[in-house]
């Protein structure tokens, strides 16, 4: 099942917003194929009738009252910003995200 080629790898890197350097691409291609081959073992089991577990507990939604409570001030929220303009996080312009 597993086999990821260079084109797929670059597609996945783009989905993950990683700009990989050439040497990383070469190294990752081999490593990812080894890892994917190892994890593909899960497909050996026939589990058509088994429900998935997304969480160790049977969790149900927890609802809170919608009441204002103390929260971070604007300055606190912006305290770690790489770049700030007024009350905003500043980012470089343009381009699709």
């Amino acid at each position: 099942m597993a086999n990821i080629d260079r084109e797929q790898l670059l597609h996945v890197a783009h989905l993950a917003r990683l700009e990989l350097r050439e040497d990383e691409i070469e190294r990752l291609e081999g490593q990812l194929n080894d890892i994917l081959e190892a994890v593909s073992k899960v497909s050996e089991l026939d589990l058509a009738d088994v429900p998935p577990t997304s969480h160790p507990h049977e969790v149900v939604n927890v609802w809170d009252e919608d009441e204002p409570r103390p929260c971070l001030s604007t300055d606190e929220a912006l305290a770690n910003a790489p770049e700030r303009e007024g009350d905003f996080f500043k980012v470089p312009p343009g381009g699709a995200t």
Binding site: Q8, L36, H55
Partner: protein
């Protein structure tokens, strides 16, 4: 003279309560030990000044958010990040008067089994500094064993508390999922991550667990403990049934010296009055690793999407926004997070989701059911924690899959959300061997009872020979 290598938290608290030592003297004693030994061991990424008071000092793994104290998760992408709020567990430490000595080293984003993935250099094992302390919480484990903290907090996703405790020869608990708040913790894989205590003794471990456990309204996956934590006192194991899962005890790669020490430990449990029986976890052991290495990277790829250079952390120079995101993440993340982000993104992508992530979630159900069935017969399961003793630095860094196998024995119960305790059970080649005790959901008190009786019976000396 305070001997930080031997002083337990319980004894330190007694000395403080009796006013035989002051809080300032105690904190200073640990700082002196840090000055003496941390250059060699590199347990700490950041040291804190004494905030004053008479509470016990404690070390905190650097994935745990601390207000006003840098929190890097061992990553360059969070270098210089200073949280503006405390995690719930740190609030609870402070409410008990505990004083933070510093933040301990970790594999980047807690991804690893040796601390060699830390962007700030590895920690070293106090028993032999040419060897790893385990990981990801190697900094906390080495600090406790090296006398650089009386106890510490770690975090565990697939073995990051238990495995370093095994390799350093101390006591570490991965709690039942949901008993300790994850609010304010740097997230890796949210359905697996749990904060837990690292200590010199089982009683210290239980006491620290009692401080941090319980429901937190800011983490909706938390629950109240069904019974309060009991500090263990009994020295026998009468009436307890201990299962020995064949596959966890005979897995490929278990060193002969580890197997011998664990077999002797099992004989000791029987001698103490436990009823011991063989059992099987065949599917959990065979499919636990592949299941974990799909689910954890999938969740990681989602959790680590937040590091984009916009709100906090590292930002790379770039003229245009998409370029800024991609370059920031390439330069900010090390190799292991990148590998896991790539595997996780692939496993969640269109066309592959059902075959990888969907199937792994079903395997998780199988693992949970297999464990649940055993706890109808047994009160706890026993095995080695790590297949090997501490390995030399560099031994597994070239091969990611070899590193992943370090956690082959701890991962299955993590997938099932179950508590696990590491207790030292002897030495092999002069290095500690760890015994893993796994319990049913909320079975911590039973694990503490077994661990304490065993610890008392064998009298393991937790101080590395070279430091005695």
């Amino acid at each position: 003279m305070i001997d930080t290598l031997r002083l337990t938290a319980e004894e330190a608290k007694r000395l403080l309560d009796a006013r035989e030592i002051s809080g300032a003297e105690l904190f200073a004693a640990y700082r002196t030990s840090i000055d003496q030994r941390d250059q060699e061991l590199h347990c700490y990424l950041h040291l804190c000044d004494d905030p004053g008071g008479d509470g016990l000092p404690i070390a905190v793994k650097d994935v745990i958010g601390t207000k006003g104290i840098p929190t890097t998760a061992g990553s360059k992408i969070l270098e210089g990040y200073v949280p503006v709020y405390d995690s719930t567990v740190v609030e609870r430490l402070k409410a008990h008067g505990l004083r933070i000595l510093g933040k301990t080293n970790t594999d980047e984003f807690a991804m690893g089994s040796s601390t060699e993935n830390s962007a700030f250099g590895p920690s070293h094992n106090p028993w032999d500094p040419s060897r790893v302390p385990g990981g990801s919480g190697g900094g906390s484990a080495a600090a406790v064993t090296g006398g650089l903290a009386p106890w510490a907090l770690g975090s565990d996703t697939g073995g990051s508390i238990k495995q370093p405790s095994a390799l350093c020869g101390n006591v570490g608990l991965r709690p039942t999922y949901g008993t300790v708040s994850r609010y304010g913790i740097v997230a890796f894989a949210s359905s697996l991550d749990q904060v837990g205590p690292v200590a010199k003794t089982v009683r210290d471990c239980a006491y620290l667990y009692s401080i941090i456990a319980g429901r937190d309204e800011r983490d909706t996956t938390t629950v109240e403990l069904p019974q309060p934590v009991e500090l263990p006192e009994a020295t026998d194991l009468k009436g307890l049934r201990v299962g020995v899962p064949k596959e966890l005890n005979e897995a490929e790669g278990i060193e002969p010296g580890v197997a011998v020490a664990v077999q002797a430990a099992i004989a000791k449990l029987e001698e103490l009055g436990a009823e011991v029986g063989e059992c099987s976890l065949s599917l959990s052991v065979e499919y636990g690793m592949p299941c974990y290495y799909l689910i954890a990277p999938a969740e990681a790829s989602s959790n680590l999407a937040r590091y984009d250079g916009v709100r906090y952390g590292y930002r790379a120079d770039a003229a245009e926004r998409l370029e800024m995101y991609e370059r920031t993440r390439d330069e900010g993340f090390g190799d292991e997070p990148k590998r896991r982000i790539m595997v996780g993104t692939y496993a969640l992508s269109a066309g592959y989701y059902d075959a990888y992530y969907g199937q792994a979630q079903k395997v998780r159900t199988v693992i949970k059911r297999e464990h649940d069935a055993l706890f109808e017969t047994f009160d706890a399961l026993v095995s080695p924690t790590s297949p090997t003793v501490a390995f030399p630095l560099g031994a597994r860094t070239a091969d990611p899959l070899a590193m992943y196998l370090s956690d082959v024995l701890t991962i299955p119960s993590c997938m099932a959300g179950l508590p696990g305790l590491n207790v030292p059970c002897g030495l092999s080649e002069g290095l500690p061997v760890g015994l893993q005790l796994v319990g049913p959901q909320f079975g911590e008190n039973t694990l503490f009872r077994i661990g304490h009786a065993f610890e008392q019976a064998i009298g393991f000396d937790p101080v590395p020979e070279r430091l005695r």
